[in-house]
């Protein structure tokens, strides 16, 4: 129970800090970027003879960008924000303080990241249905996309939390480098290495849940990765859960084992 109270305390404290003008403005910009961009693209198409054929693909990519950015902002500087604000010693000198900081900030980061994606997805689907009306099952698409992005926020949040404990002074740069290398390079390689990336599994789940509505063909993806048959969604989810739990466990171990030296001590 002590652990639960400590993690919950961190979660609630971060939530209260979130309700500031600056942070809410950042969240609003990130959340509204995809629907605004989508609306502008649709509007631009009105002046051409072409049609915007696959808006859902653009939606998925836009929302991925802003969700990742949200997780980058809130999950990565878990240790550094306390060190920079000189409040590390206050929380670290509590029983279980170090681990509860990592877990509590992880939970709040997932909530913020998911909030951004929820608003974005809702806005984008409203724009698509209003401007094109091309979705056949919008409720299912909305639900499945939100579920996928919730899982994505949890997955990337865990990895970013781990990066934040390992490279606390340059956490965001390290996390950005990880995202680019793993998400844009390794995940595209048709080899075993791609199965170690989060994007590979999230991609397959997305294709199976709403790929058809988006105009994406699962067989194209399987051909790209040279797969004869694709594992079930359950297998991908299991892999992601293992990745989340192991990242968080490793982050907890790192934060307990490392010395975080503040400038006052040197």
């Amino acid at each position: 129970m002590r652990w639960f109270h400590s993690v919950l305390a961190t979660f609630q404290f971060e939530l209260s800090n979130f309700l500031s003008l600056q942070r809410m403005a950042v969240t609003a910009i990130l959340a509204l970027f995809p629907p605004v961009m989508l609306a502008l693209i649709f509007f631009g198409f009105r002046f051409t003879s072409e049609t915007f054929e696959y808006p859902l693909i653009v939606t998925v990519l836009f929302v991925s960008i802003v969700s990742l950015l949200g997780m980058l902002l809130w999950a990565t500087p878990n240790i550094y924000s306390e060190l920079e604000g000189k409040s590390w010693i206050f929380v670290a000198s509590r029983p279980g303080g170090r681990i509860s900081i990592v877990l509590g900030k992880y939970c709040s980061a997932v909530l913020f990241g998911f909030t951004i994606s929820l608003i974005s997805i809702t806005g984008c689907l409203v724009v698509i249905q209003t401007m094109a009306g091309s979705l056949q099952n919008p409720i299912w698409v909305w639900f499945s996309m939100n579920l996928l992005y919730f899982i994505g926020c949890m997955s990337y949040g865990a990895i970013y939390s781990l990066i934040g404990t390992l490279f606390y002074r340059r956490a965001m740069v390290a996390a950005a480098a990880y995202t680019i290398v793993s998400g844009m390079v390794l995940a595209n390689v048709p080899a075993v290495v791609s199965r170690l990336t989060l994007r590979y599994h999230l991609q397959f789940i997305g294709y199976q849940w709403f790929g058809e509505e988006a105009g994406l063909n699962l067989s194209d993806l399987m051909a790209h990765y040279a797969l004869a048959e694709t594992p079930s969604v359950g297998w991908h989810l299991l892999w992601l859960i293992i990745a989340i739990l192991s990242s968080l466990a490793l982050a907890a171990w790192v934060v307990v084992s490392c010395e975080y030296v503040t400038s006052d001590e040197t």
Binding site: I89, S93, P95, E265
Partner: protein
């Protein structure tokens, strides 16, 4: 033992934080004295398990604090660092930290209000901390340290930023705390403020523990070392003529009294203040000389440390080295 350090050394790269410290402290009140950069904060962080010693071993209540953070339930820490949560109120911050001790929200609420009223912040506790004065932030830090009623309270430079009234209140609070039988470690670079709490002293400089002991033992170090005594008397010249014959007196000068004082002032430079103090009653007997005031001009932390360094370098006689 409450705290034990065995040959503890802490290095930051090639910079020495603390150097070969041996310490065994029973529950009680201790003043950790040292100039800025002497290693006080490093020593505190080693005791708390926030830093791992490069060499040696640390034990807190018999256990290694690095691997047993459950020991933190018994510790209250008021560090020197400034608090930096501009939009958070004092109450919210203290309650948050109490909840991180493992208390439920309801219990934390009660403890927060109680500790904030103990430090006289109850009227201001719902104001954002960015509107607090330095003294109020210091009191908020103290509140979060004492709220969970720890066995050992550690304060690092608690008098920073406090006005004279605030200092007096802090001293009284610490005396009351010690009077309740709880342990206290008070780190500071100001001797007379620490002295007011009447602790045992731990004197640290350059990462080394130079001396430890009761206030009387520390005073005796000063007493047997070169010192300048200032005497305001009714007849300084007559007293000077008596003192000049004493073997411990090196130099005598008569200076004008400072504004508001009566009479002239006799300054006696001696190689052993204790011998002079012992000799004074005999010198004054049957003489028509009255002493209005007597003080040592060198009773400062700087003098204490320079004396200790001389002893350690063998330039001066002092107590036996351990």
């Amino acid at each position: 033992m409450m705290i034990e350090l065995e040959q503890v050394t802490k290095l930051y790269g090639s910079v020495i934080g603390v150097n070969d410290i041996n310490l065994a402290l029973k529950p009680g009140t201790y003043g950790l004295l040292g100039p800025n950069g002497s290693g006080k904060t490093t020593l505190i962080n080693l005791i708390l398990g926030q830093l791992r010693p490069t060499l040696g071993a640390v034990r807190l209540f018999g256990k290694n604090p690095w691997s047993r953070d459950s020991l933190m339930k018994k510790i209250g820490l008021c560090p020197a660092t400034e608090v930096s949560y501009p939009r958070v109120t004092g109450y919210q911050w203290v309650k948050y930290l109490i909840r991180k001790q493992g208390f439920s929200s309801r219990v934390a609420d009660q403890l927060a209000k109680k500790s904030l009223s103990q430090v006289r912040l109850e009227e201001a506790m719902h104001r954002p901390m960015q509107n607090y004065s330095l003294g109020m932030r210091q009191r908020a830090k103290l509140a979060q340290a004492i709220a969970h009623e720890p066995d050992l309270l550690i304060l690092d430079e608690p008098f920073n930023g406090l006005d004279p009234v605030g200092r007096m209140e802090m001293i009284q609070f610490l005396k009351d705390w010690a009077g309740q039988g709880r342990s206290l470690i008070l780190a500071s670079h100001i001797l007379h403020e620490v002295e007011a709490v009447n602790p045992s002293f731990l004197l640290i400089s350059g990462g080394r523990l130079l001396a430890s002991g009761s206030p009387d033992q520390v005073r005796s170090i000063l007493a047997d070392t070169p010192n300048t005594i200032r005497l305001r008397t009714s007849n300084p010249r007559q007293l000077a003529s008596q003192l000049v014959e004493h073997v411990a007196v090196d130099e005598i000068s008569i200076v004008a009294a400072e504004r508001g004082e009566v009479g002239e002032v006799l300054q006696v430079a001696t190689r052993s203040a204790a011998q002079v103090y012992q000799a004074l009653p005999d010198l004054l007997a049957n003489r028509d000389v009255q002493i209005y005031e007597m003080q040592s001009a060198d009773e400062s932390l700087g003098h204490l440390f320079s004396t200790l360094m001389k002893i350690h370098r063998g330039e001066s006689q002092g107590g036996p080295l351990t």
